[in-house]
Symmetry: C2
Subunit: 256 residues, 2 copies
């Protein structure tokens, strides 16, 4: 089989020396990749600089990206070249990228200036006015090489990144798609509900739902939710990797 | 000699899965550490998880920190235990830490509500009002485990961290102190002016000023500015390390 795995965590630059980083050691992705490689599958592995990854070998194609935008363009190029049998999208992707940065003083000045122009606005329209003003302020290019440090408070405007998981089904209708959802300190019930929501919305075949508070050095609780509603549990990264591999192999055989 | 080196780059949590990170490979710090270790000095080396560091050896004490606050408390503890002969503060320290995060909708609602209360304010007082309101909004605890992702625009409020370099002289009056300043795409003149400003303000003995655009895999231009106005240039990390070591050893001998 031709398997595509995304793993690691993306970073979005704030300026030349700072980034917002999504944490991911890449350890789970590495083990999933190794599980498929051990069965003789070909793995295209898209990851980030800081993450661990499977050792180089012939059946492995390694690609490194930094930002969500990089990931998007890399995947689009890969999808034009090949139809994958399965896509395992485990990368921790930044939901937001930096739009602009202001010192509090700059922001207040901008906001006041723009509110001045609309000084005829009644207070009841204030929320709508603020919405318009914030949009104008957010789109003001600061064009800064390094964000200002001579202020007591800094405001970062972040704008939404493209949703990578949302484009997988459209670009690769034939693939068995596994999405990932990481939540923090939720009940198993909520984990299932949110995971099923992600699965349906993005037309995945499986979603691996997990909770940060259930991940330690030795333990990694994971819940593999299938499109038919079937639930399977794993308690270590190795178990999660085998669960995903077996379910993909089985579905692939049944699909043929 | 007893040498204290800080190296690497600090990170400040945004939520449980995201951080703002100051980039630093730690490569320069590692080489500086090795230059002192090779001369038989004892090195206390404070660094961050992602950064490279000198190999473990008897004359090396390694400490790992994450945030600027961690760095501050670690240094204060070290300074209570020992008087260092020299302090080389090369760590890329986050100027700001996360105060709160809002979706644009939450922010506008907060701002509008608080502006309402002050609806009697004349437009000429707007900037002052906004200052007060921003302060109130910034101090509103969001208490979020994971920042909202269901919004097109996110606002991060960042507040100033303690200035680590500013406390070194007060806590360790006997030490030879080397500060670092990284700028981006400036003239040599500006590099010198800014570097001298940092040196004077923080009562350093030396400041190593460098420019991100003059740092590549093989090259690292550095300008060592001494308190007496003397300027020395280096063009690689190894040259910078030797320049710092020689100047500290010489100053230490002269001080005795």
């Amino acid at each position: 089989m031709d398997i595509l795995i995304t793993a690691g965590g993306t970073s979005e630059k704030i300026d030349n020396v700072r980034s917002i980083t999504n944490h991911s050691t890449g350890r789970l992705g590495k083990i999933i990749g190794e599980a498929f490689l051990a069965q003789g599958h070909h793995v295209t592995y898209v990851t980030t600089a800081q993450a661990v990854r499977p050792n180089e070998q012939q059946a492995l194609t390694l690609l490194e990206i930094e930002t969500t935008k990089d990931l998007e363009s890399t995947l689009i190029r890969l999808f034009e070249e090949k139809n994958y049998d399965a896509i395992i999208h485990s990368m921790a992707v930044s939901d937001f990228t930096t739009e602009t940065a202001f010192s509090e003083e700059q922001f207040i000045q901008q906001l006041a200036e723009k509110l001045m122009i609309d000084s005829s606005t009644s207070m009841s329209d204030l929320e709508q006015t603020l919405k318009t003003v914030m949009n104008e302020v957010g789109q003001t290019s600061q064009n800064q090489k390094k964000i200002p440090s001579n202020t007591d408070r800094l405001l970062l405007f972040l704008k939404k990144n493209p949703k990578i998981i949302a484009m997988l089904r459209e670009k690769q209708p034939q693939a068995i798609i596994v999405g990932f959802k990481l939540l923090v300190a939720v009940s198993e019930e909520e984990l299932i509900t949110v995971g099923q929501g992600i699965l349906e919305k993005n037309h995945c075949d499986f979603v691996l739902a997990n909770d940060l508070t259930k991940i330690t050095q030795d333990q990694h609780d994971g819940l593999l939710i299938a499109a038919d509603g079937n639930l399977q549990k794993a308690h270590t990264k190795a178990e999660i990797a085998q669960l995903i591999r077996k379910n993909i192999e089985e579905k692939w055989r049944n699909n043929r």
